[in-house]
């Protein structure tokens, strides 16, 4: 893959995991995600831990065969791994010794499977009798003012399905618990047995508003496995598509944020600009969500760029006026400032990613730090804000829209000639890791191919899975009136989280 650093794989014994994890975190590394797969049959899981040593370094992979003993949980050292370990227990049947919160994560309360779904073998049978989830014991005889508000899974307006439990007293939220897996579709398993080419069509459909970035991370993984060099023209056009995706997502975000602060004209204008951006997408790609162009080895066809310079210039003018007007609207800004504060250390430890992370002053973005595609050749600037609140998250996204437009303009000005696509055939039993910065943060795809050259295991690490884990920390001890603003300011999707 052009411009991407090589990924190292290191074998670790289960007994080494704890000390190596402590050492890596001490040196400033961050664990990104972990998963299990079964290269040697259903009784021998292999664990993979993916970590980032730091800026400019490629991701590093630890490979570990646990053997007969359950592997140690690393969740007390690297808290963000807790969700990955619990998911691995649910879907791969691997138990972790000392897991601090051993309840199922992906399987809803009352759902059981007769065999773990991602262990090779026949299709598992699922039985489901809905039952209440475990909530902390608050209130009681002396605190009758503490109320439980269950909300969802079907929520008001056109929204994704998820269930939220609020334990609250008056206006104050004491505890907040989201149940995010009503939408679990078993997407990782849907990849198994597909050809690498068709896998890209499926990757576009994991998280609809992250179509390009998910397909891009997937393609990067396949290209890493195949060791193929994507033609330069394709890498530039992929940047253009990824930044168009960022623009319409962030415009939607701003319109929705205005909805929660009841700034009605601001909402209408934000959503109108989003519509303008989607119509640009449609003219460029034939799809309003930019589907149907990315494929391992390059692009499937040329995007239509003839009118893009003019339409982008008009969008930028209108957006500049919109951003100026938002910046002058104190009633809107008042609701954002100090709302939903996410501390920097918490953001790092719990795995916040994307604009949410960069709004906490954490200067991290794989487009620069683990650079891929053509980003190193383009005028990319990473937007940072320091105030850690809903306002900071809005400011980061506004700055990212301007930068995305600048990057697209540079792509159009310097677009190299040449082929769009190269042969990309990953070898049987090959593997690859790919990543891309979605509008919501970093997505990773880890792919493993079987002896037949088809996909044997695809692990998806989506940014919303990371940010949904972080989000509740900003809700506890906040108040009901700010909740909708805070949730909108995170810009989360449920589909990406549940998969």
């Amino acid at each position: 893959m052009s411009g991407s650093p090589a990924v190292m794989i290191e074998d670790l014994a289960p007994a080494e995991l704890v000390t190596r994890c402590q050492a890596a975190l001490g040196e400033g590394a961050r664990m990104q995600f972990m998963y299990a797969w079964f290269p040697e049959g259903p009784t021998a899981p292999e664990l993979r831990y993916v970590l980032h040593p730091g800026r400019g370094c490629p991701p590093h992979i630890w490979r570990c065969r646990p053997g007969d003993e359950p592997p140690p949980s690393l969740a007390t050292i690297a808290p963000l791994l807790s969700w990955y370990e619990r998911e691995t227990t649910d879907l791969c049947g691997v138990l972790f010794r000392g897991e601090p919160l051993p309840q199922p994560l992906v399987l809803l309360p009352g759902a059981t499977v007769d065999r773990p779904p991602l262990v090779p073998g026949p299709m598992p049978h699922l039985s489901y009798t809905p039952s209440p989830q475990d909530l902390p014991q608050l209130g009681g005889a002396t605190r009758e003012d503490v109320q439980l508000l269950p909300f969802g899974p079907i929520r008001a307006d056109v929204l994704e399905s998820a269930q939220f439990a609020f334990l609250y007293a008056g206006e104050t939220i004491l505890h907040y618990h989201p149940q995010l897996f009503f939408k679990h579709r078993g997407m990782e398993q849907r990849f198994e047995g597909l050809s690498p080419i068709l896998g890209a069509v499926l990757a576009e459909r994991v998280s609809g508003v992250g179509t390009v970035a998910h397909a891009l991370a997937y393609c990067h993984a396949i290209e890493a496995a195949a060791g193929c060099e994507v033609p330069r023209r394709a890498t530039w056009l992929r940047v253009l598509l990824a930044e168009l995706e960022r623009i319409y997502n962030h415009l939607h975000y701003l319109g929705h944020l205005c909805h929660t602060t009841t700034l009605k004209v601001g909402e209408a204008q934000g959503k109108y600009l989003e519509e303008s951006a989607k119509q640009i997408n449609s003219r460029v790609s034939g799809s309003r969500l930019l589907r149907g162009l990315l494929t391992p080895g390059g692009l499937r066809r040329e995007p239509q760029l003839s009118s893009l310079v003019a339409t982008l210039a008009q969008l930028e003018t209108e957006f500049q006026q919109y951003a100026d007007r938002l910046a002058a609207t104190t009633s809107h800004l008042d609701r954002l400032m100090t709302t939903g504060i996410l501390g920097q250390q918490l953001a790092f430890d719990q795995g916040a990613t994307g604009p949410v992370e960069r709004a906490c002053g954490l200067d991290r973005d794989p487009r620069r730090d683990q650079s891929y595609g053509a980003y190193a050749e383009l005028p990319l600037s990473i937007a940072i804000a320091e105030s850690c609140d809903a306002y900071a998250r809005q400011q980061v996204r506004i700055a990212e829209i301007f930068n995305s437009i600048a990057v697209i303009r540079a792509v159009l000005a310097g677009l190299p000639d040449g082929p769009l696509r190269t042969e990309c055939r990953p070898p049987p039993r090959g593997e690859g890791l790919g990543w891309a910065e979605t509008p919501r943060g970093t997505a990773y795809y880890a792919v493993h191919l079987g002896a037949d050259g088809r996909l044997a295991r695809v692990k998806i690490k989506s940014p919303s899975f990371s940010n949904w884990r972080v989000f509740p920390y900003t809700v506890h001890d906040s108040n009901m009136m700010d909740y909708a603003i805070n949730e909108a300011s995170f810009g989360l999707t449920v589909a990406g989280c549940a998969r």
């Binding site: 056109v158 939408k183 579709r185 068709l198 109108y272 449609s282 609207t329 009633s331």
Partner: protein
């Protein structure tokens, strides 16, 4: 503070003028220029023994069926996710790109390609449906496991460009006020119960619409251990709209078919011509 900060928005809103599209289901729509719909299929161009399209169709919308002399492909647009892979794989041009997105259909059968597509049946107006719901129609949307792509386009219906309210169609929070249950996603095991509960809470007469290929047939994401294959066998469906996702005018078109304010355009997997026949209803 209020006047000083809100006044610029009010002035902007007043001076910006109307941005809403005039589209009401007739003719072409400039905002959808270059949008790719369902690929058109011309089996007379197929070569003997060729199965290139079948092999690249991830959701299994294209299948070989036995014919008199040879097997030939057939298309179920209810499974199509408009990925355009068949267009690229076809060596003879039997599949071509098209802007055919107005695929709302009252019957599942009309989404399957048939050799002799009947000319569109004249719409028999049931005056009662138009009188009761024609200008006040309330939708309860339920996400039964979508990728969020369909939600993105459903949310767009209320932006100033499409401005669904002007047509007398509204989203409502409570199923008890809803006339239509609009479902997206292939129906996950966990959303099946809440979906049925929402339907049970609706007053009669009530309608159900499967929006997006996942809800119509499961598409690429249905099946497996955690998912169903769309709404068939779960709820009685009055309107099928495949698309991945369907664009907002396709959703509006399907809603107006349901309200008998526009004729259905798809028969046997093919669209009729754009010119409405004399005497057909307009929105």
């Amino acid at each position: 503070m209020t006047l000083k900060t809100i006044l610029p928005w009010t002035l902007f809103g007043l001076t910006e003028g109307r941005v809403t599209t005039r589209w009401r289901g007739e003719g072409t729509e400039p905002g959808q220029a270059a949008f790719l719909g369902m690929p058109r299929f011309d089996p007379s161009r197929c070569e003997d023994g060729c199965r290139e399209c079948v092999d690249v169709c991830l959701p299994g919308a294209i299948r070989l069926v036995p014919g008199e002399n040879r097997d030939y492909p057939t298309v179920d647009y209810g499974r199509c996710v408009v990925c355009q892979m068949c267009v690229e794989a076809c060596p003879t041009g039997a599949f071509t790109r098209s802007s055919d997105w107005a695929f709302g259909s009252r019957t599942r059968e009309d989404l399957a390609w048939t050799r002799a597509a009947a000319s569109p049946q004249g719409v028999t107006l049931k005056r009662e449906i138009r009188r009761v719901f024609g200008r006040s129609f309330h939708i309860r949307h339920v996400d039964a496991g979508s990728c969020n792509g369909c939600e993105s386009e459903l949310q767009a219906l209320n932006n100033p460009y499409y401005n669904l309210h002007r047509l007398g169609v509204f989203f409502t929070a409570s199923p008890r006020f809803a006339d239509l249950l609009l479902v997206t996603g292939p129906v996950t095991y966990a959303m099946r119960g809440p979906l049925l509960a929402a339907f049970e809470a609706m007053p009669e007469p009530r309608f159900v619409m499967a929006a997006g290929t996942c809800a119509v047939s499961g598409g690429t994401n249905g099946g497996g251990w955690a998912c169903g294959n769309g709404l068939d066998g779960v709820l009685p469906v009055n309107m099928y709209l495949p698309g991945c996702p369907p664009n907002p005018p396709a959703i509006i078109h399907a809603l107006l078919i349901l309200l008998q304010r526009l004729p259905q355009r798809v028969r046997g997997g093919q669209l009729d011509s754009l010119e409405p026949a004399a005497g057909e209803p307009h929105a």
